[in-house]
Amino acid sequence: MAEKKLMYGNHAIVEGVLAAGCRFFAGYPITPQNEIPEFMSIRMNEIGGVFIQTESEIAAINMLFGAAAAGKRAMTSSSSPGISLMQEGISYIAGADIPVLVVNVVRGGPGLGNIAPAQSDYFQATKGGGHGDYFTITLAPNSAQELYEFPKIAFELAEKYRNPALILADGLLGQMMEPVEFSYKPINPETLPEPPYALSGCKNRERRIVRSYDLRPGKLEAWNWQRQKKYEQIVANEQRFEATACDDAELIIVAYGTCARVCDAAARMARTKGYRVGLLRPITLWPYPSKILSALSKKTEHFLVVEMNMGQMVDDVRLATECKKKVFFHGRPGGGVPTPPEVFGKIETILGGAR
């Protein structure tokens, strides 16, 4: 069996990033993700990687742009306000078709908000985020184990499609301690091939240009349509989810991340009381797991979306179910975290009182 350790979620991300063969981190302090740069600075020093504490999140994302354009796996982490600052850079990186990894340990917003866990950056993460037509591949872990495993998946998807990838965690996942099994063999970055776009000096080859602009008439439109084809492929091939007890369910809860943990407990509570309740946990938030939701909506009457915001993912559930079934919402914005009894109460109300 692989080595197992009790770890903070934020520390698990660091080990996952390093095991994925990433040796470049640039970032700026912000709560509740400070354990990532702190631990990263120690670990990068140990293994000879690059750690830069930047002057701003703007500098951090642009350092990533440089490192990734140079062909290296590169990542940054931040929390909500810092991710807002990065959006210009993420748009350029998406426009240049360069893979990077950005981790958002989401906190309460808007504005400075607070440092409590939240899911209020769902729209920003899944609908583009910055200016222009683009999407970022978005993964939503719900445990320290997944925080360890998802960086590798994120880098592989980002490189496969030449697109930025996001891991959307939250303050609770980052600060929580859980056992983490080091479930895969760490990748030696020396074994990763040089990507075809990599800037490395034009010795014995044609020079390369990494850019996101094209001023020639019609060229940018064509380039964007080409990128759209890539997005269609991602949507067709990369939808990930975990479905629990959905087959016979009269009500399916849809929740991700921390909310999925809460709702798992609520669903079990409901089952013991005689309600047939299932849980669908989206793992990719973009591409959204619409196919399974569409299939489930053919036999399930009630959907309950639980989020730590005022209702963002609920729109995607309504779209996936084509509004044919009743989609209920329970949310807690501004750093509020729902409890299992609270969610169970909502289930009871929807399904018509106590049984």
Binding site: A59, M63, G66, A74, Y92, L199, S200, G201, R207
Partner: protein, 249 residues
């Protein structure tokens, strides 16, 4: 017929789209020549800014990247730390470097990041049509200061070499101009010094180059060259502002 003069291998054959009398072409040529003279073309990665010289990614015959406005020093840092054997230069105008990108250049200089910044100061926003730049001289007219820069409303210009000289970090800082043959020769010397220090892994080097913008200054090319000599140089004195190699001797 024997060819006596041509484009250096450090520049592509693409026709440059700069205005008549613009200083970019002169600076491009110097860099293109140095890439060959210093034998670094095949390991150089250049950064093109946002502004008139955004098209520099097509003009320099080496690997190039075009990042967001003002972020050249940050992108350079990412590249250099990932590929320390590569030579990295960031070509930036005054809007790019001294307005929107002030934080990035100050911090790259403070870290003594081993990169070379080529800073074109023409005291105006060129690409967008002649608006007030952080380097626009007091009293100088622009499309957003049509009565001339009023220091009571728009404050004072930023003297970047002097500003960065206040930091311990940077290894080499110089200001030159490309309005006259002597100044062009000095610009080449300064750029050669800057690239050489990077090759020798000494750290951060920046050459600020006073450059003509006849179109947005509303002058002829000849008038523009004279204006640099008679007016601009007085506000932005030429010379070395930091050379740690000399200080360390």
């Amino acid at each position: 017929m024997k060819q006596l003069f041509g484009r250096p291998a450090g520049l592509t054959d693409i026709l440059q789209r700069y205005c008549p009398g613009c200083g970019h072409g002169v600076v491009h040529r110097i860099i293109g020549e140095l890439l060959v003279k210093l034998n670094i073309r095949e390991r150089t990665i250049g950064i093109a800014p946002v502004g008139c010289s955004v098209f520099a990614d097509e003009y320099f015959n080496c690997d190039m990247i075009q990042p967001p406005h003002g972020r050249g020093p940050a992108v350079s840092t990412g590249i250099k730390r990932s590929r320390p054997d590569c030579i990295v230069f960031s070509y930036q105008g005054d809007g790019d470097l001294a307005a929107i990108g002030t934080a990035e250049v100050v911090h790259a200089a403070a870290r003594n990041e081993n990169i070379t910044i080529i800073f074109i100061n023409n005291a105006i926003f060129g690409m967008t049509g002649g608006q007030l730049a952080p380097t626009t001289l007091p009293g100088m007219k622009s499309t957003t200061s049509v009565q001339g820069r009023d220091i009571k409303k728009q404050g004072y210009p930023i003297k970047v070499c002097e500003l960065l000289s206040g930091l311990d970090g940077p290894y080499y800082l110089a200001r030159t101009a490309v309005n006259a043959p002597k100044n062009i020769i000095n610009t080449e010397k300064a750029l050669k010094t800057a690239f050489t220090y990077q090759i020798e892994e000494k750290g951060f080097s920046m050459v600020e180059i006073l450059s003509m913008c006849p179109t947005n200054w509303g002058m002829t090319p000849v008038q523009s060259k004279k204006w640099i000599e008679n007016t601009m140089v007085k506000y932005y004195p030429l010379g070395e502002y930091r050379n740690r190699a000399k200080e360390e001797k």
